[in-house]
Symmetry: C2
Subunit: 405 residues, 2 copies
């Protein structure tokens, strides 16, 4: 297999100012295409260190993809260090310079000496166009290893990789096509899923990986024999009659939107402790607007009462965090937004506000489908962020399950 390393360059990544999401994005695409991502390293902006790791990497990998360090500032060192590691040095690259000047002119940005630095690239490098920013990508070959450097700004890197770097890699390495299929399983602990998979005795030519993240579980099947993958995917699906959600790696929101669209249904939300996260999730899916109408973020009780029309005595008798309030919120959203379905969430996300009866992590949901309402009460472990994320995923999953019944 073709060994790929990803080097994410930038001290801010090691210091945790920014989470490196580029490497996961690249890892997903590369793995799917059949490359073997053997290494992901986050590397600080230290000249000697970058040069050393590039040199070592050139002896080890077939290809190294770097992200970051192409900017105009003094701590952007990728071009310089790659030139040094490959023993070619840098020079002003006229094509890269032209691209930069045109890009900045179009946007009425005056060109400064610091910008010029961006076009000092390894001598004789290949160029990869950047249609969304100033810095072109560049590649250098050395010791049967190719190093390709891309910008760190995610959307600039995404487009450059999809349009130019991936096609270059596929041309360069003629790969056996690898197939993969994801199964989404909901509401079961990892150990139960693991047990079921063991009992299926997967053939060794089939790779199987279980990922669990905040209440969602993916089982990934991978191999070179597509029919074998399909066969075992169906066996796995049948092994989880109640918990199988879908194939593919769409998010829960996309799965639910598709299901609603098939049934010609619309949905709205009433969110308290999740504060808009479910709406944000729905609207992260392009084309959600035929199904998702909107929602009410009812963070204060006054909004629950006035806009969602939750009867005051329900909140007094049962509390704002209760299945009764969740029920009234779901009905209120469906009525106010005139949708056939609605999801409501109200809970204690913490860190404060918990009581003995309703500890931090208590979250109540309401699911309204054509005026029928089902409510659920959950206790989620974790911090504020984990509780809210679990609430969102659980709400989307339970609504999907209810619709399938």
């Amino acid at each position: 297999m073709v060994k790929v390393a990803i080097f994410a360059i930038g001290s801010e990544l090691l210091e945790g100012s920014i989470v490196d999401t580029n490497s996961a994005w690249l890892g997903k695409k590369l793995t799917k295409a059949g490359f073997d991502v053997t290494d992901i390293r986050l590397i600080p902006d230290h000249r000697e260190k970058i040069v050393k790791l590039l040199r070592e990497g050139m002896e080890t990998y077939d290809i190294i993809l770097t992200t970051g360090g192409l900017g105009p500032t003094f701590d952007d060192l990728t071009a310089e260090t790659l030139g040094e590691a490959a023993g070619v040095g840098t020079e002003m690259n006229e094509e890269a310079r032209r691209h930069m000047v045109e890009w900045l002119k179009k946007r009425n940005v005056s060109i400064k000496p610091s910008h010029e630095r961006q076009a000092l690239l390894p001598k004789g490098c290949m160029l990869f166009p950047n249609n969304s920013g100033t810095a072109m990508g560049f590649g250098v070959e050395k010791n049967s290893c190719t190093v390709v450097s891309m910008p760190g700004v995610p959307y600039e890197m995404y487009k450059m990789f999809d349009d130019f770097v991936m096609p270059f890699m596929l041309r360069k390495f003629s790969l056996n096509e690898r197939f993969s299929l994801d199964l989404r399983i909901g509401g079961l602990p990892e150990s139960d899923i693991d047990d079921v998979i063991r009992e299926l005795h997967l053939p060794s030519s089939l790779e199987c990986i279980i990922n669990v993240s905040k209440g969602e579980c993916f089982v990934k099947l991978r191999g070179f024999d597509k029919s074998l993958i399909d066969e075992y995917a169906l066996k796995l699906k049948d092994s989880f009659p109640r918990n199988f959600i879908g194939f593919g790696d769409d998010g829960m929101a996309a799965v639910l939107l598709r299901l609603l669209r098939e049934r010609d249904m619309t949905i709205s939300v009433a969110e308290s402790c999740t504060g808009g996260m479910i709406g944000a999730d729905f609207t992260s899916v392009a084309g959600a607007s035929d199904v998702f109408m909107g929602g009410i973020i009812s963070y204060s009780n006054d909004v629950k009462e006035r806009i969602l029309r939750v009867p005051k005595n329900i909140m007094i008798n049962h509390g704002a965090v209760s299945e009764e309030t969740a029920r009234a919120m779901a009905v209120g959203a469906a009525n106010t937004l005139q949708t056939r379905c609605a999801i409501s969430v109200t809970g204690v996300a913490g860190p404060d506000g918990g009581t003995d009866e309703k500890p931090v992590g208590t979250v109540c949901m309401g699911y309204c489908i054509d005026r029928d309402v089902v409510t659920k009460k959950h206790f989620f472990a974790g911090d504020r962020d984990a509780i809210r994320t679990r609430a969102v995923k659980t709400a989307l999953r339970e609504m999907t399950e209810l619709l399938k019944k």
Copy 2:
């Protein structure tokens, strides 16, 4: 300085099924405490590879923190590989086993053979309590290097690190206290900020890092002399009279909530293309409820009209994405939710829906403060995710600036 490496273990991280956020979280805490995070590596679940990298690491770093691979499934290899790398092997650890059994019993989970594996730990290891999950952390010392292994589930790792691993590290290495201060600068390109910093001629004992991410910029000052940091922080602040937002590394939402609280003001949102993201951002801050009342996710025009009372003729004459509609949405939110301030966002997030006049990336905002409304129109570059994120950050920043005027 004490050299720390972070090894995030799990094939899912290299394949991009999960983004590794643990390393950034650890990197931030460690850097702040004065440790030197020299390496972050993502390592697949391959026995030989993990053993090899642990062995090499034991020769190179003062401490290695690993996350992940402590679970009960067949691809959880951390304990086993650490035992092998340290040359001590593994054994059933009775204390870890007892913790696991008690944890599962309390939750009425039946104990399976796969669970027992979780208590097979390196012989003679130190233990670190896990108060939020089954798997205890463990540490092994070898060649003047200490390896500490923690779970990969973020909130389990966070608590274990804060309560037990960090105190252990601070005891073990008596560190010089390092100070750091972040400045938040809004609405300026990186190159302009860089120019200003160059002109200040920072002393070499002061480290300065610029991070830019989706329309926000942080300038970080770090060093061992607190008064020097404070002195240059003020100089920097004064260099950006219009664009300085605040000190500290609170998110924009926290900065804005604090400002509103100081003025005894409340706020609501009316979100179209951001679909709840601003609400989600506000409510990610614990204790937001005294300032943030809620909002309307008006994804459909019908919701804009009926709930926010945007006059139909405004949308017909100017379009749903227009400053005029944004103005009416902001007023509608303030009226409906009875808040003194309101933010509205309506835009074309793409990938479809753009026109020549209003291309993808066009986003209009409305800011209502005590019945006065200011509107803005922006064109954001990037994909759907980048456009929405930039819209959120810009809205929070512009509202903060308007309130400061």
